[in-house]
């Protein structure tokens, strides 16, 4: 009997055929199948919460930015009352993009095609030659506004979903919220975007980047091997920093918490438990934090969260479906350690292309000099010209192409490095906890979340 709710491709292949739960394998075909892509747009990008920017990009009433929400253009506006709206940037008259700028300030958005005008909350104002009623009178004006998405601000980050009745944002984060709060909700004023995002195109399917963003530790050892080879950036051995704790959930979210003591000689004393929080922050603070922020951290985090943030901060990870999170250290030759903060969204642009959208952020309360350094080093290490991430951008297109081969499409990607170490008894946080050397569990959980959404009824 065919399970009617199960997603099936035209050749009879099901999602469960592509993702083998027993053996933790994914058929390579799943990477760039065009039929699958159409389903993903509806069932993944049409349903989950998606990161669209940071509210600091639109500080004043009337400010707007335009972004892509999956394959849909959206207009994001700041209202008079300070709230934020996210709406489809598509004219309900003939489908023209209403706002054609990337950013700006406007009370009214007027479509340049036939002149339909909308308030910045999306309400339809009217069309030219009002007496002649271009919009007719079959539909009331209230039905002619821009389609509204459901939006949510989290630590100043703008999220939205088309799933109006679906899970709340907190339900979407689930148990992982405890860890994300350590990054996004730890200071009084929170993060700010240091500018608009870098944007560039990679000829690769979005999933190649996104399954990696689910805390792939192993690739660092090989793809980013130069970090160890190049004396300027380390002591030659990347392996020690692969020990730590990975946390994840069946919603596909994950973070890698890496002990500061494993990474930096000057932090060796973190291990013996005699240092105060003040002393630790003076030696190596969590990425993006300065020691002056300690009172804020104490106000905003629980003692358990704060202890973990200082000893073993989450440094890389992802948020399902398409966000990479980087709160990383860049050690300098003179001993200074610069912490930087960046978020990427990998926006699907067809089965074989993605847009890499790189936001660089800093704590609003950080000194200006700290922000400028964080910004410069983020540009040098991550994103468009980033010396770390430029190496990723060749890998993903190759995988996207190999996945099309008559033979290769049937081989599988393997996620069979399984954590067998039990969590430390004193581990303070919730969710699924994987102790020890990096393994594949977090990435496998990403695929499980994908499978769940793809199999859900439309």
């Amino acid at each position: 009997m065919l399970d009617r709710t199960r997603t099936t491709l035209s050749d009879g292949t099901t999602i469960d055929d592509l993702i083998n739960i027993e053996t933790r394998e994914v058929q390579l075909r799943a990477i760039s199948d065009p039929e699958l892509y159409d389903i993903e747009m509806r069932k993944v990008f049409g349903k989950t919460w998606l990161l669209l920017g940071h509210e600091s990009e639109i500080p004043n009433p009337g400010d707007f930015i335009t972004r892509l929400m999956g394959s849909d253009p959206v207009l994001i506006t700041r209202q008079k009352d300070g709230s934020i709206r996210v709406m489809l940037n598509v004219c309900p008259h003939r489908g023209m993009r209403v706002c054609t700028a990337d950013a700006g300030n406007a009370k009214v958005h007027t479509c340049i095609y036939h002149g339909w005008a909308f308030k910045n909350d999306g309400d339809f104002i009217g069309a030219p030659v009002a007496g002649e009623k271009m919009h007719g009178d079959i539909l009331p004006k209230e039905k002619l506004g821009l389609t509204q998405a459901r939006s949510h601000l989290y630590g100043g980050l703008i999220f939205a979903t088309w799933n109006l009745e679906g899970p709340s944002f907190d339900e979407f984060l689930g148990e992982m919220k405890w860890y994300y709060d350590m990054l996004f909700c730890r200071t009084d004023k929170g993060l700010e975007a240091l500018g608009p995002p870098q944007r560039f195109t990679i000829k690769a399917n979005w999933k190649t980047a996104c399954e990696q963003s689910a805390s792939d530790g192993f690739h660092t050892l090989t793809l980013h091997r130069w970090l160890g080879e190049f004396a300027k950036f380390g002591d030659g051995d990347l392996t020690t920093s692969m020990y730590g704790t990975e946390v994840s959930s069946l919603q596909g979210h994950s973070l890698r918490c890496m002990p500061v003591a494993n990474k930096f000689k000057q932090a060796a004393g973190f291990r013996d438990g005699n240092l105060t929080l003040e002393e630790k922050l003076a030696i190596v603070p969590p990425p993006g934090i300065t020691k002056e922020m300690l009172p804020e951290l104490i106000r905003n985090l629980s003692p358990e969260q704060l202890g973990l943030l200082v000893d073993s901060p989450p440094q890389v990870g992802g948020m399902f479906p398409n966000v990479l999170i980087a709160f990383i250290y860049v050690p300098q030759p003179d001993g200074e350690i610069i912490g930087l903060t960046s978020l990427h969204t990998y926006i699907p642009k067809g089965p074989d292309e993605l847009e890499f959208c790189n936001y660089i952020l800093a704590e609003k309360d950080a000194p200006e000099e700290h922000k400028q350094k964080a910004l410069q080093f983020a540009v040098r290490m991550l994103g468009t010209s980033g010396m770390v991430e430029q190496d990723d951008s060749d890998t993903w297109p190759h995988i996207t192409q190999t996945a099309k081969g008559a033979a290769a499409r049937n081989i599988t990607m393997k996620y069979q490095a399984v954590c067998t170490t039990p969590p430390r008894p004193d581990w303070p946080g919730p969710a699924l906890v994987y102790e020890g050397f990096t393994k594949d569990d977090t990435q496998w959980n990403w695929w499980l979340a994908y499978r769940e959404l793809m199999n859900a009824p439309a």
Partner: protein
């Protein structure tokens, strides 16, 4: 509507500085020297002779590539974003980037290297108060081919340079690269422009 519509006065971009009276004429000895420097630079970069390229950079180098945004005409200046940029470099950081390529065996983004062609045109040179410093505009069309991809990738830009003349040749002291794309068609900037 008259045909000679006036461009709004608040349009201001890096390239809008009024044409200077101190133009170094096309074809003059100084112009030719600078043109040759830019042609040789393109050659060194296309041939991946990076150490020789670095030798032509001055130690106070600023090398930047702003992000571009789509803005209406009357906000054209704001189409150039100098907060978050694609490159934000100094002499030391450029040397670090080159060192990653020359001193490791794992700079995969350009190993195997792209086949590139830097076409430099529309060179305009202005003299400055310092007789050995020149402000130079040049257009660059950079084509890039990787692996068996038959469609070339392109990046077009104007470069605003400050070139400094020494006894042993010219050095690049400042370069601002104004790209034409808001979303770059290159998968990275692992090459120099």
């Amino acid at each position: 509507m008259t045909m000679n519509a006036v461009i709004p006065t608040d349009v201001s971009v890096a390239s809008d500085a009024p044409f200077r009276p101190n133009r170094v004429p096309v074809g003059s000895p100084a112009y030719n020297e600078i043109t040759e420097f830019l042609y040789e630079e393109a050659w060194l970069l296309d041939e991946i002779r990076l150490a020789e390229w670095v030798a032509r950079l001055d130690v106070d180098l600023r090398y930047t590539c702003p992000v571009r945004q789509t803005r209406p005409l009357h906000q054209h200046a704001q189409s150039i974003v100098r907060t978050v940029m694609h490159f934000d470099e100094t002499y030391a950081s450029i040397r670090g980037r080159v060192g990653r390529i020359t001193d490791t065996r794992s700079a995969w983004a350009e190993d195997p290297p792209s086949r590139t062609r830097r076409l430099v045109t529309n060179i305009l040179v202005d003299s400055t108060d310092d007789p050995d410093e020149f402000e130079v505009k040049s257009y660059l069309l950079c084509s890039r081919s990787r692996f068996e991809e038959t469609n070339l990738l392109f990046l077009s830009c104007v470069r605003h340079d400050l070139l400094r003349r020494y006894d042993d040749g010219i050095k690049l002291a400042r370069r601002e690269i104004i790209v034409d794309q808001t979303v770059l068609g290159f998968p990275n900037l692992a090459i120099f422009l």
